[in-house]
Amino acid sequence: MTRRTRGPIDPRLVAEVPVARRHLAVAAGLGVGMAAAVVAQAVLLANVVDQALLHQAGLHRVLPQLTGLAGAVVARAILAGLGEVAAGRTSASVSAALRRRLVDHALDLGPSWLAGERTGELTLTATRGVHAVEAYVGRYLPQLVVAVLAPAGLLCWVATADWVSAAILLGMVALVPAAMVALGRGSARRARRQWRLLSSLSARYLELVQGLPTLRAFGRAAQGRREVAASTEGLRVATMAVLRAAFLSALGMELLSGLGVGLVAMVLGLRLLAGTTGLATALAVLVVAPEVFLPLRRAGAEFHASAEGQAAADRIFGVLDEAARPRRGSSGAAARTGGTVLADPRRGPVELRAVTVRYPGRRLPAVAELDLCLQPGEHVALVGPSGAGKSTVLALLLGFVLPESGTVRVAGVDLAAMPPASWRDLVSWVPQRPHLFRGSLEDNLRLGLPTARADQLWRVVEAVGLAPLVGRLPRGLATPLGPEGLTLSAGERQRVALARCALRDAPLVLLDEPVAHLANEDHVLLRRSLSGWLADRTVLVAGHAPGLVDPDRVVAIPAGGPDHAARARPPGSQPPVDSAGTRR
């Protein structure tokens, strides 16, 4: 999370989001067009007044100018509308593109990277963060481009009409960026701090709301209420501090624009008195003068979007910069991962040789110098204390993590050389803590085999012992899951995971503590119904699954290697278990 100080335009964003580039070009064109319309309006208006005041012209004599004035008004109005439409169009496609890249890359980074609290933060970045970038690209950046081009064009015209006014306006305009940089730096810093405060407030808020049952059970709901009030008041104070600084740049800009117009009016008045300029010129310059500052003021009003958008862009690119292994082979990715060889675990052993895995930021390896060999069709139980690296071994075989040293081979072919997605087609898996997705029970089962027929679904539902539950549901397998539908217990979730695992006709089966939440009687039932499916497959089960799998071999991973307190954990693993309170 490096925080660089930068100019108002994030070069990376513009470089990496092509829509943003095109959009800026359109905004520039519209800005120049509007500036031309403004000059035309001013000149025509001044001409009418000049004719009427100095030459006592009547309406009929100024009719052509008035018609032209109306035309300029219409042109400007249409260009302004177009600008807004273009901004709306761009911001939507920018955010969609960024969100897609972010989530896609997060999936490439893999489940072990996503483990833990990162998911929540990433969710916030992919929703609120991308929204902030949308405002930055869609509103702020085009304003900024117009703010550079339009004043420059208008000043050039003023210079041809009256160089003294042009000099005054130029002086004021030149002060604007200086004021913006001076005042904007502080506000950008504060906005970044506010983002952190906002995240911690929302985390606190969520914790209090989600913990409400506990708070109620202990009669402390009123205390939680006070904490909500205190944290939100803290947010107000912090936000107001940010805004007092953020609005300073707007204040500076408006002061400069007000003074600019005031000074120009004074100079023009004096020059008219002295007879060194004409009314038509003076009046046109006067009408144009505030328009020189208008785009700058608009850009200034969106300045907070800049700070917030850049902070969010930082986080997004921070994720995108993490080196990842592509999940599936575009041709380039296949070349990088060494080709498209695919070995079948039915043809030869799955073999780990002296494999060491270390999660980033951890001193001790999660798995050290591990040797393990699974013959085709063999059932092996991997045992060891919690945190010994059992789940990590499964993550290795799923291709979620890569070994730091040593090799994983399947029938003699290095796993790292196989396209990960094709390899995973040969693997079925029950994670330790299965995730159930929004959608129906059926949708969740079909994750294992999207093309499953109804009779296949029912077979696995019966095999894992979910049939009585499904039978009691009026809508059966179509019952929606989740908080708005059927809430499943940990044991039932495990059954669903087992069922979707058993839907896959994969030669290698990885089971991570598959019956931890099930009673012993259930193990026997499960074994009876699943043993046929497991029989001719290679099975690696982490932890004891008495009853479900009768291992041909038990392999113990010794304790002591892995660092219990480290933060990164393999996906779905349970938190490190307290070992008798003697840690450290």
Binding site: V73, V85, V209, L469, V577
Partner: protein, 592 residues
């Protein structure tokens, strides 16, 4: 996860706001409710209105004044004739910016104060409805609701109230001044201003339903992202990631389409505003030229009048923006207000009967509960008794109704029939808080709160003395571990679970229940997520620490029931087997 999560929650979502009656009337009613709940401080809002009107009037004065200066100077009357007005122009040029700065600060401060009230309101609404109602919302949605909906309401104050007031005040002032100088120009300017406000306002209002739709989409977007990221391991392992990304993309595309339609309407509103402003300038100018020619107007006012018209239109765009954002604000507000309509499942009786203190007898008779008419009975006629000091273990497969027992006893859910009582007093006749004082809960995967270990242990009784806390820690076998921590009891527990192991978390939950001081311990799967040895150690310590208290354990691990006096086996909401133990447990007795 917690005790709370109802095992079977209602499958239907929240009742959607009905769209049967007149949308305008509904909109007004929603607005009234919103302003009534989060009333911003009136003084700050008024200050913002006054400052903002001042800023617009200063702009009008600056433009018109400088136009007059130039016109006047063109006739070369000598410096004295324009010095006064020139000085006034310079003053107006200077004061406009501070006025605007003050307006912004006052309006934002008012809005954030109102938002603070909203966050507390939301908590108040959720509190009596949790866990019953809480389980109904997806986590992503809840986050969106708590943060984004409330945040969206700031525009109600910032962009709603203040700009409308400013526009009305500034328009009225501009029209009257122009009318004083040139009466026929007043209806021109007034008409153009009114037309701009009406046309652009209604165009923006037409976009308002799109805003509501967009807000709903953002909610599902958020839920989709949560699902995708939390379920990433399975999606990748089963090759279903492309499909899930496709769903996300579909939501994003729909969002983009809506955005596009909204920006079309928004662009049209801007164009309309500029056209009205242009019409006003051309019209006032033409009127002025005709009037000057007819000697009804001093020719030196020729430029000042159209320039005043330009200035007056400065107040219009903020109103358009307000109307444009109204849809978002109303959608957020309506969703928030809908929370209020979710019925509170359990209400206190008007005249609560006091519950006996100490360790009363706990009894359930023919208790029936279900979470939704379409779902099976969670408790289907359960009768159980825990005599004072006795220990009852309830076991059975998942879905048997064990956690529902806890939900009913702690009064999170009402019984449909039958009764639950403490010491012969029906729980429905007593205050909920009283029942929760008598029964202390140890949850499965107990949530810990940000704060120190001590804060968490004393959650139920913040005034507990150091000796009590120390005794509870000893009983929960946490004392040795706490002594190894550099800050001891003051050590923050950090983000849930990240710095505290599962065993420590459950021991903290036990110490918390002991300090809370209820005479009955309710243990809801207290060893979930712990390995076998750890689970046995924690449960053994719980029972030893329980002392003379009654204990009701709910567990799916049959090996855990051995140390209990009585064992009930449940299945599908019924007690299918009851194994009574020996004589009643004596006070201070120990089953280990």
């Amino acid at each position: 996860m917690t005790v709370s999560a109802p095992r079977r929650a209602a499958p239907s979502g929240l009742a959607a706001p009905t769209g049967t009656d007149h949308p305008g009337g509904q909109r007004r009613r929603t607005l009234r409710s919103l302003l009534a709940i989060g009333a911003p401080p009136a003084r700050r809002l008024a200050a913002a209105g006054v400052l903002g009107s001042g800023a617009v009037l200063a702009t009008i004065g600056l433009l018109a004044g400088s136009g007059y200066v130039v016109d006047r100077a063109a006739l070369r009357p000598g410096l004295g004739a324009i010095a006064g007005i020139l000085a006034l122009v310079e003053v107006l040029a200077f004061v406009r910016a501070p006025l605007r700065y003050g307006e912004r600060l006052a309006a934002h401060d008012a809005a954030f104060r109102a938002l603070g009230r909203w966050r507390v309101w939301l908590y108040d609404v959720l509190e009596p409805r949790s866990p019953a109602a809480l389980g109904r919302w997806r986590r992503g949605d809840l986050l969106a609701r708590a943060i984004e909906d409330v945040d969206a309401l700031q525009d109600l104050y910032l962009r709603g109230a203040v700009p409308v007031v400013v526009a009305l005040v500034a328009s009225a002032a501009a029209v009257s001044v122009v009318g004083l100088v040139l009466p026929p120009a007043a209806p021109l300017l007034g008409g153009a201003l009114a037309a701009a406000l009406l046309v652009s306002g209604s165009l923006a209002l037409a976009a308002s339903p799109l805003g509501e739709r967009e807000a709903a989409l953002r909610g599902s977007l958020s839920a989709e992202v949560v699902d995708l990221l939390q379920g990433a391991p399975e999606l990748v392992a089963f090759g279903a990631d492309a499909q899930a990304l496709g769903r996300l993309r579909a939501v994003d595309d729909e969002l983009a389409r809506l955005h596009w339609r909204r920006s079309l309407l928004g662009g049209a509103a801007s164009t309309a505003t500029l056209l009205c402003a242009g019409a006003a300038v051309v019209g006032v100018l033409a009127e002025a030229v005709a009037a000057a020619r007819g000697h009804r107007l001093a020719p030196t006012m020729l430029a000042a009048l159209p320039l005043a018209a330009i200035g007056a239109f400065e107040a219009v765009p903020p109103v358009t923006l307000a109307a444009h954002r109204l849809g978002d604000v109303l959608a957020a507000g309506r969703r928030l207000l809908a929370l209020r309509d979710v019925p509170v499942p359990v209400a206190d009786p008007i005249d609560p009967v006091p519950l006996p203190g100490g360790t009363p007898e706990l009894a359930l008779r023919e208790a029936r509960l279900r979470y939704h008419p379409e779902l099976p009975w969670a408790l289907d006629g359960v009768s159980l008794v825990v005599a004072p000091g006795r220990r009852l273990a309830v076991t059975g497969p998942n879905g048997a109704g064990k956690t529902s027992l806890v939900n009913v006893l702690l009064r999170f859910w009402p019984l449909q029939s039958g009764e639950a009582s403490l010491g012969g007093v029906r729980l429905e006749a007593a205050a909920q808080a009283d029942a929760r004082r008598v029964m202390s809960l140890v949850e499965q995967e107990a949530p810990l709160f940000a704060g120190s270990i001590r804060d968490n242990v004393t959650l139920g009784r913040p005034d507990a003395g150091d000796a009590e806390v120390a005794a509870a820690l000893r009983a929960a076998r946490l004392d040795a571990w706490v002594r190894t921590l550099p800050d001891g009891l003051a050590t923050p527990v950090g983000e849930l679970g990240s710095q505290v192991s599962g065993g420590q978390r459950q021991r903290i939950a036990l110490a918390r229940a002991l300090v809370a001081g209820g005479g009955i311990l309710l243990l809801d799967e207290p060893t979930t997520g712990l390995d076998r040895d750890e689970a046995a150690a924690v449960l053994g310590d719980v029972l030893e620490a329980a002392g003379p208290r009654s204990v009701l354990l709910v567990t799916h691990r049959p090996e855990e029931v051995e140390a209990f006096d009585d064992v009930a086996v449940m299945d599908a909401g019924r007690v299918v087997e009851f194994r009574p133990g020996g004589s009643a447990q004596g006070a201070g007795g120990n089953t280990l």
